[in-house]
């Protein structure tokens, strides 16, 4: 199967700081999504980004499929950004794998 590795596993930020989260995958993928799991356990779609760059407010993501990685940028972080960020890939058109996540804590 495919390996999906996220880094760092844990991140503590002061409110207003910027951060970059990384997702590496070991084989070609058909799809990649970034999710935010809030402290109440809800999984929220952030980006559907099999390749290229997308931006949504303070968040942006870039996937370089040929080099098998994706980056999630959070600028001017807020306490509401706290939670766990997951990347998930579709492999072989119907195999879904989640990474182990990056746990973010934004302090006021």
């Amino acid at each position: 199967g495919i390996q999906v590795e996220q880094s760092p596993p844990d991140l503590i930020l002061q409110e207003g700081a910027n951060s970059t989260l990384r997702c590496n995958f070991s084989d070609s993928v058909n799809n990649l999504q970034w999710f935010h799991q809030n402290p109440w356990g809800q999984l929220i779609n952030l980006f559907y980004i099999p390749s290229g760059t997308k931006q949504n407010g303070r968040l942006s993501a870039t996937t370089v499929a040929t080099e098998r990685y994706s980056l999630l940028y959070i600028s001017s972080s807020q306490t509401t950004d706290s939670g766990v960020y997951f990347c998930a890939v579709v492999y072989n058109f119907n195999k879904f794998y989640f990474g182990s996540g990056t746990k973010l804590n934004v302090k006021p």
Binding site: N30, N31, Q33, F35, G41, Q42, L43, N45, Y48, F86, A88, V90, F93, N94, K95, F96, Y97, F98, G99, S100, G101
Partner: protein, 113 residues
Amino acid sequence: EAGVAQSPRYKIIEKRQSVAFWCNPISGHATLYWYQQILGQGPKLLIQFQNNGVVDDSQLPKDRFSAERLKGVDSTLKIQPAKLEDSAVYLCASSLVGTGPQHFGDGTRLSIL
């Protein structure tokens, strides 16, 4: 647009009992997924349906877990008999097409005593 609906939100049972979860996907979404998320881990895919057919159930413990999507819309996931290690959040997701973006329900938190 209504999101993915799941029930119940919480369930507490004793080991060896049975339990069932229900999911109603977003209207028009052909693909439905059930995931298990153990505390501190990422979600693990249990089963994927395309309409009412199974696409992938390779990680479903078939000796105790079963799932169905009879009319290609709602789905149920059953565990019988439950074990202590089944304590987890069970998440349902749907997508318009098989490789498209997935949308998740709020999950069912299962505790086994």
